[in-house]
């Protein structure tokens, strides 16, 4: 979901105007999208890139929010530790934007029967959903949809492709 920022143009101009000033990359409070400091701390990008991000935080390529895909181990629906921060970031975003709804798509690799894989995909989506809820996100903001093996991301028939397909995707 994108925030239609009608003042965007003005901001850009003002950014250019202030281009000379040094900046540590911390966000300025302009732009209606994101507010600071809601607990998790990942909101505020300590990214070393110069320049601030204006526009919807969802589109910020430096934000963890840009990571929309969580991968899973074979036959597992538990969140791997390396994705916890990502999910926390998403939780924070959702908590700060109570009207935003995200759909968590669950997927499975192609092995085994198709309907069982639909159920597996749903299990993964639900795991992500529960995680977000545990982080305070309201359940009305989260939809789940399982595609099982029907929407592959990788089309090979080997471990690499299968690993890529075992995923949950957050779709805004």
């Amino acid at each position: 979901m994108k925030f239609n920022n009608s003042a965007g143009l003005a901001l850009v101009l003002s950014a250019l105007f202030f281009a000379g000033c040094s900046s540590t990359g911390s966000k300025d409070g302009e732009g209606a999208s994101v507010e600071d400091g809601s607990g998790s701390g990942a909101m505020t990008m300590g990214a070393s890139q110069g320049g601030s991000w204006s526009g919807s935080e969802l589109d910020n390529p430096n934000s963890l929010l840009s990571t929309r895909t969580i991968y899973f181990d074979f036959d597992q629906s538990t969140i791997r530790s390396e994705f916890i921060d990502v999910l926390r970031t998403h939780a924070g975003y959702l908590n700060s934007n109570r009207s935003v709804v995200v759909t968590v798509e669950g997927h499975a690799d192609e092995r085994g029967s198709r309907e069982y894989n639909i159920a597996l995909g749903e299990r993964r989506a639900n795991t992500v959903k529960r995680f977000l809820e545990a982080e305070g996100v309201d359940s009305t903001q989260i939809n789940t949809l399982s595609y099982g093996e029907e929407r592959a991301a990788a089309y090979g028939h080997d471990e690499v492709s299968w690993a890529e397909n075992r995923r949950a995707v957050l779709v805004y």
Binding site: S113, R114, E115, I118, A119, E122, L145, S146, H157
Partner: protein, 436 residues
Amino acid sequence: MKRLFFLVLMLGASLQANAALTIEITKGAEGALPIAVVPFAWRGDAGRPPPHAVGEVVAADLKRSGRFKPLSPDEMLARPTRGEEVDFRDWRALNVDNLVIGDISPNGPGGFIVKFYLYDVFRGEQITGYSMPTTARDLRATAHSIADIVYETLTGQPGAFATRIAYVTSQRQGKDQEKVELRIADADGYSPQTIVSSKEPIMSPAWSPDGRKLAYVSFEKAKPSIWLQEVFTGKREKVSSFKGINGAPAWSPDGRFLALTLSKDGNPDIFILDVARRSLRPLTRHGAIDTEPAWAPDGKSLVFTSDRGGSPQIYRVSVNGGKATRVTFEGKYNARASYAPDGRTLAMVTRVDGQYRIATLDLETRDFRVMSTGRLDESPSFAPNGSMIIYATRVNDKGMLAAVSTDGRVQQRLRIQEGDVREPVWSPYHQQERIR
């Protein structure tokens, strides 16, 4: 194998006695019956032959069943097309047990009459013969009917050649774009017709017992729902669109109910839908995944896939619900069971050494047999005469359909089309009309 010669002489010491001589035969070769199907003659205008080579279709059907070994036309010593042209010596010499000859004559515009005769070569006599009026459109179906008659006359079991299959195809069109279709074709894969086309996934087609409807799962509008579509008219209606999963529709043997998988109550469980009344009742209630229900032919119980034991296995439950009992105990992964028409055997997907294969389980003897040899086989479905199982496999990165005879002896691949083909399901016998 030892040769057991068991000689019974009804004689005393003297050679005078006139007792009957009895000889026991204890060994024979097991194998497909040699048969010759002579290419049918065309009695009409040579410039406008009929659209299908009926003899070839018959021979291919018989071969696919695994019970027959048709002689290649190259090896035939003669090509009779009329009764009086048949000289049995030509066929005895080739050790062919049965002979089929026939011809096609024009019968009005777009019409034909197909005649065929079946002979017992070693008895030297005709067994049966038919004359069948048909049309260009139905010529292939007529050929399949001939194959059915030959099959049933010689084996005593009904053939399943004049039946149809439904399956899902998909073609990738650019990145993240896919064209998915639900199709119906003859049991040999010919004459496919599309009945649903979509950009979203279609899954789990299921024939109604009268062969007139297909139930399937469609993800149109970005959520899975279950639809019932009339095969002949194309009319369809949505019967299940609850929150969460709507999947794995399975018709009861009397066609009045659909078992399906719904996760609206928190996790995937099996429910039974009264199709006419649209009322729903739960069949399983368990925190694990319960899905892929299949009805026993007597309608009194269902089998389904459940991972309540830790990994997917097949369980059985009474149609009235209650405790489910586990059915499969071989290996750690058994799913997607489907019943043979006699209710005695289940086909399923099983995992063996990391490969996903089709296996059959005899519910009485508990014999568990792996039937296929692929790595990613799935979706087994029995022919309505129980003689073959059709399933999906992958060959060289392509999804294809394959068939195996239930005794495991003959394997075949069905060449259908480009793109991926999957989820085949065999129609019941009642398919009379052809769809428009």
